[in-house]
């Protein structure tokens, strides 16, 4: 099995990175010449550190103030998002509650409405049994479709909320 490291590696790296390799003691240089690990370390460290030294002067990074400003604005935006998140939930819950309450009110008031409709039909069309049958059929159909109407209304309110959370970045 190959020897993966050498006890002199740290010394060799330190000498190369501090640009003292040419002036390093002969013992270390001699060792690096004979040790396969250190020989590669010298080659790689010389290459990468030279590249870093050379490129360092050419690299253009944004100004510190610009980085700070962007970070500050982003932090503020994230804070705004964090504050808005529970509000969005609250809106959704309030909407669902409103739909529930509306349905409950309609359910409770339904017998009265039905009576009112019957009275109106009777007053408007007299004892015409055909019209009375149609009115009874319509009110019955409306009563049956109440749960469906409730589900549809809930979806209309909750779908945008669910969509918001599904598509939001965070």
């Amino acid at each position: 099995m190959a020897n993966h490291d050498c006890i002199h590696e740290a010394d060799v790296v330190a000498a190369v990175l501090s640009r003292r390799w040419d002036r390093a003691n002969d013992e270390l240089k001699q060792h690096a010449a004979e040790c396969e690990v250190c020989r590669d370390v010298v080659a790689v460290a010389s290459l990468l550190s030279a590249d870093q030294d050379h490129a360092r002067h050419e690299v253009r990074v944004p100004a510190a103030g610009q980085v700070w400003w962007r970070a500050a604005v982003r932090a503020r935006l994230e804070a705004a998002h964090a504050v808005a998140r529970p509000l969005t939930w609250l809106h959704g819950i309030a909407g669902a509650c409103a739909v529930g309450v509306a349905c409950a009110v309609i359910g409770i008031a339904w017998p009265s409405l039905r009576e009112m409709a019957s009275w109106f039909t009777f007053e408007a069309f007299g004892a015409d049994s055909r019209v009375a049958d149609v009115a009874a059929f319509v009110t019955d159909a409306l009563q049956r479709s109440l749960p469906l109407a409730f589900v549809v209304a809930a979806c209309i309110v909750l779908a945008p909320v669910a969509l918001y959370f599904a598509l939001s970045d965070d």
């Binding site: 040419d22 590669d40 080659a43 010389s46 290459l47 360092r56 932090a75």
Partner: protein, 194 residues
């Protein structure tokens, strides 16, 4: 998806908030940034092989650094922590891009042929280091750069990458061998041309 747009007043307030929520003041940051930004950008550029991505990751790295609540024992600790953030970001990029399976496609002869500006007197020839590093796996680039450009110890790199020191030494050895084989034999023996 709600768009949040800050007003001028909110932007001004953002600076006040930043002083409170960030772990250092703007002046402290300025000094720290001047010391670390260029080596950091180079690390990001060499490990990702993409200068534009390096620009983005640089901003992200400092943002995350500013938001951290870690108490630093020393300047070195702080610098290592910054590189740790960058390393994690680069690793996330690798995972996203699924470029881990990069194979050596070019021989050292091809790279040697690209080399043009030779510098003598014991220095390495100016070769395209980026292209050479591109032949390595992303993690290998990271390992080599941290160890041999930044001079981090094995223990520090192992901590950054979440590896055991023993495993790191083996990985570093393989990465080194790989780079040397990409570069060709003449870069061995103390970096001098044979």
């Amino acid at each position: 998806m709600r768009e949040f747009v800050l007003t001028e007043m909110e932007r001004a307030g953002a600076f006040e908030d930043a002083e409170r929520t960030f772990q250092m003041t703007e002046d402290e940051f300025r000094i720290f940034y001047e010391q670390t930004a260029r080596p950091m950008w180079l690390y990001l550029a060499r490990t990702t092989g993409d200068d534009r991505l390096a620009d983005d990751l640089l901003q992200e790295t400092y943002y995350r650094f500013l938001r951290t609540r870690t108490a630093f024992e020393s300047a070195d600790h702080r610098r290592h922590y910054l590189f740790r953030i960058a390393t994690n970001l680069v690793r996330d990029q690798w995972r996203r891009a699924r470029k881990d399976a990069v194979e050596i496609t070019e021989t050292s002869e091809v790279l040697d042929a690209r080399e043009d500006n030779a510098v003598g007197d014991g220095a390495l020839g100016r070769i395209d280091v980026t292209r050479a590093l591109e032949q390595l796996k992303p993690r290998e680039r990271s390992l080599l750069w941290l160890a041999y450009a930044q001079g981090f110890s094995h223990e520090e790199i192992a901590a950054q990458l979440g590896l055991r020191t023993g495993s790191l030494k083996a990985l570093l050895f393989r990465a080194r061998r790989r780079l040397v084989s990409v570069l060709g034999d003449r870069y061995r023996s103390g970096g001098r041309r044979g």
